[in-house]
Symmetry: C2
Subunit: 395 residues, 2 copies
């Protein structure tokens, strides 16, 4: 049986970008890689066959959603999440913490991104040293999640790469709160590591979440702690600031602090430009719902010079300009959608309220993100990452 | 270029069941066959690749829906419906009449099935000798459809088998109304035939709709007319009565009246038991939205002995009994869904409101209907149609 490992195949002198290989019990992942979100054990509307045909290496499911519906016991009884959902490749799960805290603070992600939103219903009931207590968004029942429980659930799911539970610190808190929260996350992460030892022989990996918000000294403290303990790798979490610039600064300074021999995941970030920037700082894997979520709203990912209107990395197929556009989304693209269907057809499906539109654009976006990551890996090997970035994002 | 033809490969002595072959400009169809409804130029949530993998021979699109959105001119400009939707096989379109009249009478189909429903908004504005005038359900604009226009639109779409426009006579009318309506449909059908002559070299087929409601003498009159003119085949339309028994009687007496050397389509019928009955009366092709519509509501087609609860030709995957059922929908089935996914997984997707559930069940239902028709063809050749019916529907 293959166990988790990470090896660097190539690094560069002018940036921290690197090409690597992650091995897992369910196969390997060439990095930098993008991880697609199969939140509730499926990529909405896209079958596993279609995912594989789009060259997908790895997918992610959410512990929070699956522990509530259908429950991790059921998935364990089914033989694990791989068997349950028919996916045989590498699988990543998060700890459940992000959703508990972001929903708990009233919104899925706006709070940690610094956008205040106090109108939505709060579901986080109680946060103690032991863990978190929250209301299920499905049926209102009260659920406890502890670091140990999160590891147990992720092991029941059978993911290849799991994440330690942390408190997902909001943006609108004091530095003291962030410091205390980071310290608690350290204690939780040690408890996760202790729990994980019970499953050691299974070969899965535990990533420690690096906290500390936008504060350099706190990030350093969190990174030191993670470096000193034998986590398989790291995941950069917590608030990354309010602007793109702030985010790049936080990612740059944090990766600089981390042990270079372990893989680094950046939680929840996946814009094309963000990926180029963060690959340069040494990020190995990304996850984000965006490629498939925007697809369901009619938006396809393209290179800057392929957007028909203003220069951007997407086209919106809802626009009337596509009504009689008989070209594919991207003329150079070899995805199933671009080989077979025109923008006019997809625009028609959107206007006719057919879900197939979202499926077809999802297939294109998944294929495109996989192609982007493949091209990024090649460009790092060739020393041409900046040229590739210009091709995708302009100068 | 292949032109339309129909040949009988095998007929039986104990019933009117026959095995045949329809040739069209886009390939052949072994009959009896089922035609799947790609109403708005797609099978909701299912890609053309998935349709092909499920052994689909022929699909149907609706003139009524496509003339309103995106419009037949646009589809013509796209190179025809085959190219627009990426389907290279035989394609069937209806005349648009059914929707105009059934929506016009206040409901899609309940009226011609004899179920009164006067609450819904009527959209049929005017019915004359020339044609019908109705309001678009999309934007309220007024649209005229004549027999000639219907042929022109279907030719713009480029279907291989098209249907003449008729008045779809309701059930709750007098025999005199039905007789007058049938006479008008005859005149309309002659106008369709004249229009069709302009396109003769393209090799497509025009089916004449047989009207006359539940009245034997009117059906005979309509059948005589169709037999005497050189339509490529027939489609049985109009009211088939209020009960299954009445429907079987109407189908049996109508097929008996028709020229045996031409193919007979039964419009809008597709239940498993109905198919077995009507194949015996000599029906060659069926179309119905049911297999994919029920799939989107969580219902899968199975043999009688595969339904877990009471003996019936379906299982409802919404039911809690499937929560921890780790078997596929049908253990003997080789469809993509049954080879890869359990009822527990599909039940979870339904509970989690994931559209993938409907897609996976649609794939199973399409594969199953194609397998059913294949087995029916083989059983006719083997003289074992009744045995096959018992296997599927019981005694």
């Amino acid at each position: 049986m293959m166990v988790f490992s990470f090896s660097i195949k190539h690094s560069t002198s002018d940036s921290s970008a690197r090409v690597g290989l992650i091995s897992t019990p369910h196969g390997t992942i060439e990095t930098p890689a993008f991880i697609f979100c199969a939140t509730k054990a499926d990529i909405k509307g896209v079958t596993i066959d279609q995912l594989v045909q789009a060259n997908t290496q790895i997918i992610l499911s959410n512990t929070y959603h699956l522990m509530l519906q259908p429950g991790s016991e059921l998935i364990k009884k089914a033989g694990g999440l791989h068997k349950f959902m028919g996916w045989n490749g590498p699988l990543f799960t998060d700890s459940g913490g992000f959703q508990i805290f972001s929903l708990g603070h009233g919104n899925v992600c706006s709070e940690i991104k610094g956008v205040r939103n106090i109108l939505k219903q709060r579901t986080l009931m109680n946060l103690t040293e032991d863990g978190a207590r929250f209301r299920s968004y499905i049926d209102g029942r009260i659920v406890n999640l502890t670091p140990e429980k999160s590891v147990q659930i992720q092991m029941d799911l059978g993911a290849d790469i799991i994440v330690s539970m942390d408190e997902c610190t909001p943006y609108h808190v004091s530095k003291l709160y962030t410091a205390n929260s980071m310290e608690k996350s350290k204690r939780w992460t040690l408890r996760s590591l202790a729990e994980m030892k019970k499953y050691e022989q299974k070969g899965q990996a535990l990533l420690a979440v690096i906290q500390g918000g936008v504060y350099k000294d706190l990030r350093q403290e969190s990174a030191n702690f993670a470096n000193e303990n034998n986590f398989h790798g790291f995941a950069i979490g917590g608030s990354l600031g309010k602007t793109k610039c702030e985010m790049y600064d936080v990612v740059a300074m944090t990766t600089e602090m981390l042990d270079k021999n372990r893989n680094v995941h950046l939680l929840g970030i996946g814009g094309v430009e963000d990926i180029f920037e963060c690959v340069k700082y040494g990020i190995d894997t990304f996850d984000c719902v965006a490629p498939t979520r925007i697809a369901r709203h009619g938006v396809a990912i393209v290179k800057l010079n392929e957007s028909r209107t203003k220069p951007q990395n997407y086209i919106n197929l809802n626009n009337a300009v596509f009504r009689d556009d008989f070209l594919p989304i991207s003329e150079g693209c070899h995805c199933y959608t671009c080989r077979n269907f025109s923008n006019a057809y997809i625009h028609h499906l959107i206007k006719a309220h057919e879900v197939l539109a979202g499926n077809l654009i999802s297939i294109h976006n998944i294929f495109t993100m996989n192609r982007l990551m493949n091209d990024i890996r090649q460009s790092i090997l060739d020393g041409k990452l900046n040229e590739l970035k210009t091709e995708w994002c302009g100068v």
